[in-house]
C-alpha cells in the first residue's frame, strides 16, 4: 500500500520542477532560438563560442574557480577543525569574524581590497615601502592572483560552515579507536576525522567553485582593470545594447554540463564508502588538546580573517565616517553625515532595508523546506530516478544570476503566473538561486543520520511523516539553523538577479549599493555597506539566541 506521504513528495517535486526547470527550460529554448524569427538555430552557440575571446574568458573562469575552491579549502578546513574539535582559544572571535566575512558583500570587499592592495597606492604597499627600502610594494590586486584571493576571502565561509557542521557531528569514539590503536593526534585527524567530513568538504568545494564562476561583482571591479575577462563580464557584454539574450543563454548552457559532471564525480567518490556518523547510540565528543600549537592555530585563523574581514572593514569604516575619504585619517575629517544621509535623508534606504531582510527570510524558508524534502526523497529513495533531482536542485547555482533573472523574467511575466512587479518574483528568484546551498547542507546533514533510527520508529508503527517530524527533524535542528543562515546571508546581499527583477517598491539594499558603486560616491557606499553588515550581524545573533547558545559555541554534547 502506498503511503499518504507519497502525495506530499510528488507535490514537492512538482514545486521544484516549477521553480528550477521552468526558467531553465525557457533559457534552453532561447539558446536555440533565432533572435529575430524565433526559428530553431545553432547560430547562438556559434556566436557564443566562435570567438577566442569568449572561450578564453570561460577558461579564465574555470581556472579561477578551481584556484578559489582550493584556496577556500586551505582557509576554511583548518579553521573549521580548530573551532569544532580543538581547545584553541578565541573561538568566539574567530567565528564572529567568519560570520562578518560572510555577511560582507563581495563587491564591497573588492573595493576595500583595491584600496588595500592597489599597486600604486594600496595601504599594504605603502606600509611595505615605508618599512623597507623598496620603491614599490609587492601586492597587486589587479591580477588573477588578486582576484582569486578576493573571491576566496568572501566565499571560504561556505567551506568553514559546511566542514564545521560535519565535524560537530562526528563522535570521538572513532578517534578514540584510532588512538587506542596507537595513532597520534595528527594522524587521527588526517586519517579519521577529516575523511569522515569528506562529503561536506567535497560539497563545499563544488559550491565554492560554482559560486566563483557565477560571481559578477568582484570580477567587474578587479578583472577589467587587470585586463582580463571572465565568463560573467563577457556575459555582461552580451546584455549591452542591443542585448543578445539568446547568445547569452547559449554561452551559459555548457556550465550546466560542468555541474552535472561535478556532482557525478562527488557521487562516485563518496558513494562507495560509509559516512554515517550520527547513530543515535550516544557518542561523546572531546576536544583535541593542542598544547602550544593552539596559539599557532589561532594565529592562522586571525591571519585569514584579517585578510577577509578586519583589514577591509577598517577601510570601510574609515570611508563611512569620513567627510572626504580621499584625505585619509584626520580628526577633522570624521563625520556622521554619511550615515545620517543614508539612514534619514535617503528615503529609499529604510524601505530597501526592510525588503532585504523580509525577502531573504522568506526565500530561506522556502529554499530550505524544499531542499530538505528533496534531499530526503533522494537519500531514502522514495521515488524512482530520485538522484536526477539532485542535479535539478543544484542546477541554479551555476547559472549566473543575471541569466537566471532573465529566465525568471521570461517565465513569470506571462500567464498563467504573472509575478513581475510583486515581491514574490524576488523571493522565488532568491529561493531558487540559493536552493543549491540549502540542498548541499540538507543532504550532508541527512547523510550523517543513520536511517536505522527512523526504521525503528516505523517498525513501531509511525508513518513516514511522523517519523520525520519526531526523529529526523529534532536531529537536524542545529544543522538546519546553520543552513538557514547560509541561505539567509547570501540572500541579503544578492545582487545579480535582483537588479533585473526589482521594481519601484521592491528595491533591496544590494541594488542601492551597486548603484552607488558606479556613482563614485565611496563615502555613502561604505555607510550603506556598514548598515547592511551591522543589521545582518544583529539579526543573526538574535537567531542564534533563539536556536540556543550551543550553536554559537558548543557547551554540551548533544
Amino acid at each position: 500500500m502506498r503511503e499518504r506521504s507519497f502525495v506530499v513528495w510528488l507535490l514537492l517535486i512538482a514545486l521544484l520542477l516549477l521553480l528550477v526547470i521552468n526558467p531553465l527550460a525557457r533559457l534552453l529554448w532561447a539558446s536555440f532560438q533565432h533572435p529575430a524569427t524565433g526559428a530553431f538555430t545553432l547560430a547562438n552557440y556559434v556566436a557564443a563560442y566562435g570567438r577566442w575571446r569568449h572561450v578564453e574568458a570561460l577558461i579564465n573562469s574555470l581556472v579561477i574557480g578551481l584556484a578559489v575552491a582550493a584556496l577556500c579549502t586551505v582557509f576554511g578546513v583548518p579553521m573549521a577543525w580548530a573551532v569544532s574539535r580543538t581547545d584553541m582559544p578565541g573561538k568566539g572571535l574567530v567565528w564572529a569574524a567568519v560570520l562578518g566575512t560572510f555577511i560582507m558583500p563581495n563587491y564591497l570587499g573588492a573595493v576595500a581590497w583595491i584600496l588595500l592592495a592597489g599597486p600604486n597606492a594600496g595601504w599594504l604597499n605603502r606600509a611595505y615601502t615605508a618599512l623597507t627600502t623598496a620603491e614599490t610594494g609587492p601586492f597587486n590586486v589587479y591580477s588573477k592572483t588578486g582576484l582569486v584571493l578576493v573571491i576566496a576571502c568572501y566565499s571560504f565561509p561556505y567551506m568553514f560552515v559546511f566542514t564545521r557542521s560535519a565535524l560537530d557531528l562526528i563522535s570521538s569514539e572513532m578517534e578514540d579507536a584510532a588512538s587506542t590503536l596507537g595513532a597520534g593526534a595528527l594522524r587521527t585527524t588526517l586519517r579519521v576525522t577529516l575523511p569522515l567530513a569528506l562529503p561536506a568538504i567535497l560539497g563545499a568545494f563544488i559550491v565554492e567553485f560554482l559560486e566563483s564562476i557565477a560571481l559578477f561583482g568582484a570580477p567587474a571591479l578587479i578583472a577589467l582593470p587587470a585586463r582580463f575577462q571572465v565568463m560573467t563580464t563577457t556575459l555582461w557584454q552580451m546584455f549591452e545594447f542591443p542585448p543578445r539574450v539568446q547568445e547569452a543563454a547559449a554561452y551559459a548552457m555548457p556550465l550546466l554540463l560542468v555541474t552535472v559532471f561535478l556532482f557525478w564525480l562527488q557521487y562516485r567518490i563518496i558513494a562507495r564508502k560509509g559516512y554515517v556518523a550520527l547513530t543515535g547510540k550516544g557518542g561523546e565528543r572531546r576536544l583535541v588538546r593542542l598544547g602550544p600549537w593552539r596559539w599557532a592555530l589561532l594565529g592562522y585563523c586571525l591571519l585569514v580573517t584579517s585578510l577577509s574581514f578586519f583589514l577591509p572593514m577598517l577601510v570601510v569604516l574609515q570611508a563611512a565616517f569620513a567627510r572626504a575619504w580621499g584625505r585619509g585619517f584626520a580628526w577633522d575629517n570624521v563625520t556622521l553625515r554619511n550615515l545620517r544621509f543614508v539612514l534619514f535623508d535617503q528615503t529609499a534606504t529604510r524601505a530597501a532595508t526592510l525588503n532585504t531582510f523580509v525577502y531573504a527570510a522568506a526565500a530561506s524558508v522556502i529554499a530550505l523546506t524544499l531542499a530538505l524534502a528533496i534531499a530526503y526523497i533522494v537519500a531514502r529513495r522514495l521515488v524512482p530516478l530520485g538522484r536526477a533531482l539532485t542535479y535539478v536542485a543544484m542546477a541554479p547555482f551555476v547559472i549566473p544570476g543575471i541569466v537566471l533573472a532573465i529566465g525568471f523574467y521570461a517565465a513569470y511575466t506571462t500567464k498563467p503566473l504573472v509575478l513581475y512587479g510583486t515581491a514574490w518574483i524576488l523571493i522565488l528568484a532568491f529561493a531558487t538561486r540559493f536552493l543549491p546551498i540549502a540542498y548541499t547542507n540538507s543532504d550532508a546533514a541527512l547523510r550523517s543520520i543513520n536511517p536505522e533510527m527512523e526504521d525503528a520508529a516505523r517498525i513501531l508503527g509511525a508513518g513516514r511523516l511522523l517519523s520525520l517530524r519526531r526523529i529526523v527533524a529534532p536531529l537536524l535542528k542545529r544543522g538546519l539553523a546553520g543552513a538557514f543562515i547560509l541561505v539567509f546571508i547570501p540572500a541579503t546581499r544578492e545582487l545579480s538577479s535582483a537588479i533585473f527583477l526589482y521594481t519601484t517598491g521592491t528595491q533591496v539594499l544590494s541594488v542601492l549599493l551597486f548603484d552607488k558603486s558606479d556613482e563614485g560616491n565611496f563615502e555613502v557606499l561604505s555607510s550603506m555597506g556598514l548598515i547592511l553588515v551591522v543589521v545582518t550581524v544583529a539579526l543573526v545573533l538574535v537567531g542564534f539566541r533563539m536556536v540556543g547558545r550551543d550553536f554559537l559555541l558548543r557547551r554540551t554534547a548533544t
Binding site: R53, V111, I114, L115, G118, P119, N120, A121, G122, Y142, A220, L221, A223, L224, P225, R227, F228, Q229, T233, Q237, F239, E240, F241, P242, P243, R323, A324, W325, G326, R327, N333, Q346, T347, A348, Y409, T413, T414, Y420, G421, I499, F500, T503, T504, G505, L512, D515, K516, D518, E519, G520, N521, F522, E523
Partner: protein
Amino acid sequence: MTSIRTIVAFAVAVLTLAAGGPAALAFDGEPALYEAAKKEKELTWYTAHYDSETAAAVCQGFEKKYPGVKCNYVRTTAQVAYQRLAQDQKAGIAQCSVISTTDQSHYTRMKQDGWLLPYKPKNADELVDAFRSFNDPDGLFTATAAGLVLITYNTSVVSPAEAPKKWTDLTDPKWKNKVSIGHPGFSGYVGTWVVQMKKLYGWDYFKKLELKKPRIGRSINDTVTMLNAKESIVAAGPSATTLESRAKGNPLAVVYPEDGAVLMVSASGIVKNAPAPNAARLFMEYLLSRESSQIMVQQHQDPVNKNVKPMAGAKSIAEVKTIRPTAAEIEKGIPEVKELFRETFGI
C-alpha cells in the same frame, strides 16, 4: 479650483524663495495638465541621467511643485534602464512613463520600434541654445540633462601647473601607470568620449595611451574613486561627480581641456504605453523648468535651463570650449570603438 491654484502658487513661491532664483513662470496649459496628471496619481521614471541623490531630489521637487502626483524613480545605468524598458515592452507591461537614458542609440532604436509618444515641452523654450539640436524633430525626445567629460586630477599629488592641459597630454610618459579611464562597453559617457578622441586624433591616440598602461574601470565615475585612492592621479573624468566629490573636501580638481571638453547631452522621452501619460508630460515640463535646473545645480550637475546659473567654481557650459560628435557619429561610432577598444586594451 482656486484652492489648487493657491497651493500651486504657494509651492512655487516657497521653492522660489528657497532657491533664491528667478520666479518660475507657468507654461501654457499647465493647470489643465496638472489636473489630468492628478487623476493618474503617480508616474514611474527610469533614469540613468544622474546619481540616485539627484534623481531623488528631482522627484521630491516635482512632488512639491505638483502635490498629489507621486514620482517614483528607478535609477540605474543606461544599459540596465533600456534593458528594463525592453523587458516591459516585450511582456506588454505598462510601468514606466518617462525614460531617461544617456545612450543616444537607445533613442534611435526606441523611435524605430515605436515605443515613444511625441510631446514637445513648452518649457523647452528656455533650454540652453547649444542643446536644442539634440531634440528630436518629431518631438519623441527632448534634451533634459548635460554634462562634460574633462581632465581630472588629484591635487595632493599633482600641482595645477603640472596637470595636463589638453587630451594629448594624457599620453605623456610622466603619467605612465597613473591615468584612469572608463570602459565604453559600460558607460555611454566614455563611449562618446572615445568616439570624439578618435575623431580628433585617430585611433592612434588610444594606441599611444595603451603604452602608458591606463587603469580601466567600468563607469566614468570609477575614475573619481581611482583618483581619491591615489591609485591613479590623472583621469578622463566626469564634471558633476568629480565636483561633487571635491565639494565634500576630496583633493580633486578639473581641467577644461584646451582642445575641448566633451559635451554629453542626454534626452528624455515619454513611453507610448505610459500608464500616466499626462503626469509624464507634466514631468517633462518639470525637467526643463528653472526649479529642476536649480536642483541639478545644487547637486553639482549642469543646468539645462538657460536662466539658471551654474554652481560656484564651475564654468557654465556656454563659456567652455566643448566638442561633441554628432548623433549619427555616436550611433555608428560606439559599437565600432567598443570593438577597437577591446582589441587595443584586451578587455
